[in-house]
């Protein structure tokens, strides 16, 4: 009797339930909110266990090039996934655009930002927060906008967060009156969650085609490809769109 009990427990411990895998996913900071929701649904639907690590795309890239144990990368641009494929750190045929990001000029104060973004040129503010242009695609896109509008002189008022989450925190705490953040951080189901914002026209900055890719080191992990397939499902695309992202039809 006792032997059977021990044997059963041992069997349970050794043969982990059928093909449930561990996944470690590197996620661009702007996609943190939707990805938490998607990961929870994916775990429920597939039985795989998912852990998420968030950061600026440039930082995640540096980590991956130095051997970080991620299985999948959800980047905030296309160049990073492309570079990883070139260096054979990622699998070429798994690369696809899971969302198209939108940049917004946002303030925690209601009615502070007008719907045409004139507040930038009027200059009635002290600090403008952006994500680090060197590490975060949304930061680089924000610099594009300033250049396109001929407002480079505002660079004196820029404060840089290490990722788009950090930039958002500067604005949300009121320490910077304005900031360029990701629409997904301040927008849900067609309206601002709080404060006021301007949806920056996409033609003012480089496109934010956010690409996902499976990393070479997890070539044989079926959960990685399952997650990438899952991101293409209609109900998941609808969820991504509800956060203010563009999704290709």
């Amino acid at each position: 009797m006792r032997f059977r009990l021990v044997a059963t427990i041992a069997a349970l411990l050794i043969s982990s339930p059928a093909r449930a895998e561990q996944l470690l996913v590197a996620v661009a900071a702007n996609f943190a909110e939707p990805m938490r929701e998607i990961a929870a649904q994916f775990e429920r639907d597939s039985g795989h266990a998912v852990r998420l690590a968030f950061g600026a795309t440039g930082k995640l890239y540096a980590q991956i090039s130095n051997g970080a144990p991620y299985d999948v990368l959800l980047a905030a641009d296309e160049i990073t996934a492309e570079k990883l494929v070139e260096q054979q750190l990622a699998l070429a045929d798994t690369r696809f655009t899971y969302a198209t990001g939108r940049l917004v000029l946002w303030s925690a104060q209601p009615a502070r930002v007008d719907s045409a973004g004139k507040v930038l040129a009027e200059g009635d503010f002290r600090r403008l927060a952006i994500a680090s242009p060197a590490a975060a695609p949304y930061g680089a896109a924000a610099m594009d906008v300033l250049e396109a509008l001929g407002l480079q002189h505002l660079s004196e008022r820029l404060v840089r967060g290490e990722s788009i989450t950090h930039a958002y925190q500067f604005v949300a705490s009121g320490n910077a009156e304005l900031g360029f953040v990701a629409r997904s951080q301040v927008y849900r189901d067609g309206r601002w969650l709080s404060g006021s914002g301007w949806e920056v026209p996409a033609e003012l900055h480089r496109p934010l085609h956010q690409q996902a890719v499976q990393l070479s080191r997890s070539r044989d992990n079926p959960a990685a490809s399952a997650l990438l397939d899952y991101l293409r499902q209609p109900q998941i695309r609808a969820l991504i769109a509800s956060y203010g992202y563009g999704v290709s039809p």
Binding site: R127, L158, V159, E162, S173
Partner: protein, 223 residues
């Protein structure tokens, strides 16, 4: 080394100097009180002073960001005084670094004051020295090793600061972009060469500081 790197080094030295001088001014009376008092407040104040030793710098930085922000008490005060908000400014960094390096200055001073004991002060008093006289001519010379250690540790600890600056600095060149943040930016942008160079400077700096401190202590014990 680029101009921006040199700017970061200069800014860091400036910050550490200002912070160390202000901390010496502020901490001398505080350490004196802690060394002498029998008040029930001694333990809680001592614990408060030591807190930056164990709190993660990100916690200190996060609370300072809220404390100095438009809704925070210090933020409202500085705004009312017409200074504006302190995050993302050099003055803001000075205040944050003072909080962060506080125990490194208070504790060596407190130890030095405690070691002097009552006796020299009693002798000075019988010679009719005023409290201020005996502080200047008895306490200060006797506590000199404590002042040296406090200055070196306060300075070095401020140079090595990262988490707090990252949270409230905003990485503005010439104002809040200190060496450690500059290194972090280099690493993030995969400029490993520049990161190496600056890191080597910091490495050499901390080694020399600790070596000097050790030598001084040893020399002082033999005197």
């Amino acid at each position: 080394m680029s101009g921006e790197d040199l700017g970061a080094i200069w800014l860091t030295l400036k910050l550490a100097t200002v912070v160390t001088l202000l901390l010496l001014l502020f901490c001398t009376p505080l350490a004196w009180w802690l060394a002498r008092t029998r008040s029930a407040w001694k333990a809680p104040v001592g614990a408060l002073v030591a807190m930056p030793l164990i709190l993660p710098p990100t916690v200190i930085g996060f609370y300072l960001l809220l404390f100095m922000g438009p809704q925070g008490p210090l933020g409202q005060l500085s705004d009312w005084l017409g200074i504006g908000l302190l995050p993302f400014t050099f003055s803001g960094l000075v205040i944050a670094s003072m909080v962060y390096s506080l125990p490194f200055v208070v504790q060596p001073l407190q130890t030095a004051f405690e070691q002097i004991g009552q006796r020299p002060l009693e002798v000075a008093a019988t010679l009719r020295a005023s409290p201020w006289d005996s502080f200047r001519h008895v306490v200060l010379p006797l506590a000199r090793p404590g002042f040296f250690t406090a200055s070196v540790l306060g300075f070095a600890h401020t140079v090595g600061e990262f988490g707090v600056v990252l949270m409230i600095g905003g990485s503005i060149p010439g104002q809040t972009k200190v060496i450690s943040v500059q290194i972090y930016d280099h690493v993030e942008a995969m400029q490993y060469g520049s990161a190496h160079l600056l890191s080597a400077v910091l490495l050499a700096f901390s080694f020399v500081v600790l070596l000097l401190l050790h030598r001084y202590r040893k020399g002082h014990l033999h005197v």
